[in-house]
Symmetry: C2
Subunit: 305 residues, 2 copies
């Protein structure tokens, strides 16, 4: 499964990057890197492109002794990975796209396969992942369509998946100190091992094939929409919140930094530019205010289709 999952993520990276290059008009810079403690990855970035301010698509397969902090943090979530001396293997794809145009949303997706050989000798494995959308303005049609695509791919595998993973996504991408969500959600799941590895592989293969179809129609509709200075400023403030979530709460970022991952590949998720204004307020009935309302109280997007 290690090789099969890694091959899947590498193939997805190629497919996705080809589509993104066609949209942006620029080619990705590619960096191959290795990790001292074991493994490596392939990072691809477009910066200040035609459509994207910053777009990163990364695959990696890393392994080695499991860091103590990660064992403890898993234990804190009720996952027993055993004591010191565990070895881990992790392979995954992660993608973050930040367009120039404030009307075009940021999208994030990450799919991964994890194995831990516990010090006790047995092996634990799981899949994790998700796709979620972070718009600066609320375009209900876009959000419904996005969630609709994710629901379809979930439903093809298990009717319980979408409601469960939609709710998990809302819980995970939450910024407690702002009392709001990072974006309008999507799906998120972790420690998935409740059926055969082949079945879950097939689910993750389908989810990762749905990243581009879930966002491309939105990009096509929003990419030429004119915007003004005020909308650009609001976009930069929202990117500030994106940075807050990723640096303060995101487990993937924290895991990466603590396992001495490649910093540039981990923090490639951060936007090119961000802004923090003291006590910025938005009117409830403004376009910005309508987004904030949804971030404060996540909605059921597909039920209302």
């Amino acid at each position: 499964m290690r090789n099969k999952a890694e091959a899947l993520f590498r193939a997805r990276q190629d497919e996705i990057c080809a589509e993104l290059e066609a949209l942006d008009g620029n080619t990705f810079r590619e960096d191959l890197w290795t990790r001292d403690e074991g493994g490596g990855g392939r990072t691809r970035v477009i910066q200040e492109g035609g459509f994207f301010e910053k777009a990163g698509v990364n695959v990696s397969a890393v392994f080695g002794p499991m860091p103590k902090e990660v064992l403890e943090s898993a234990q804190g979530r009720g996952v027993d990975l055993g004591g010191d001396g565990a070895e881990f293997f992790a392979t995954g794809i992660s993608l973050v796209l930040h367009p120039h145009n404030p009307h075009a949303p940021t999208i994030h997706a990450n799919y991964r396969y994890f194995e831990v050989e516990r010090a006790e000798g047995d092996k634990v494995w799981w899949f994790g992942g998700g796709t979620d959308l972070t718009p600066n303005f609320l375009v209900e049609k876009d959000v419904r369509e996005f969630h609709g695509k994710l629901k379809s791919v979930c439903d093809a595998h298990d009717l319980e998946f979408y409601p469960k993973y939609k709710a998990w996504c809302d819980r995970y991408f939450h910024i407690p100190h702002r009392e709001e969500a990072r974006g309008v959600g999507g799906i998120f799941f972790d420690n998935l091992a409740d059926r055969s590895a082949d079945d879950l592989y097939s689910f993750v293969a389908d989810c990762s094939a749905t990243i581009m179809p879930s966002v491309m129609p939105i990009y096509e509709r929003q990419k030429d929409k004119p915007f003004n200075e005020e909308e650009r400023e609001w976009q930069l403030l929202r990117r500030g919140r994106y940075v807050e979530f990723n640096l303060v709460y995101d487990r993937g970022t924290s895991f990466g930094l603590r396992t001495k991952g490649r910093t540039e590949s981990i923090l490639m998720s951060l936007p090119l530019t961000a802004r923090w204004e003291y006590d910025h307020q938005v009117a409830a009935d403004s376009p910005a205010g309508r987004l904030v309302e949804v971030l404060r109280e996540p909605r059921d997007w597909v039920g209302s289709m």
Copy 2:
């Protein structure tokens, strides 16, 4: 001591803000706020001023039940604050100044007095604080003068203070995932209770009176220095690192967010604008490169005066 320390910090805020307003040409916006669980503060901010892109000076005095995470985090540092049921009181001043001009450094200072009534019934108190400088370019004269001022105030109290607290500052303001310091340091100390509260109060009173004298001569020299686009971009990248330190590692920020402090007052420390370029490189013999060299290997600034 609670009232005495709080009064000191409020007086310092007034003195400092008067000096900053004279430099900037704008007046501070002031927000008085209260905290549901107990206490409150006075936040003052200048944003997009004449000299400062963002300048914040905050005083607060907060109290209430000690959050569990804080007790555990203190325990992790070897400080026993007792078990559940402890009550805390904290008063402090914190200041972060981000000038427009890339040649003028960011300065941060924070002084605080802390009391914990442990569940066991006894009381623990300490002082903490520090002043540190984050320039975008290395101006050796500025850094030597800055450290010299801090050394003088330390030496007047104890000859062991400056070397000890200079080293503590270098250790504290370190960004492990970047393998560099946030800036060129200064002084930092915490859990200080090794002499009488009056003696330490007097030390903290002198330190907080030295914030402005340590940085004003630098601002006077650098404020009209011309700068170009490249220097501005480098400033924004350095501000990105500032954000990384504050959100990932800073204990004060983490304490504030976890104790449900006022988010806008805590994150007032973040710059107005920041930037993250993928894998930005600087030439070793460039002005940017000379700063990075010092961030990678902190120097003894006063020994070489």
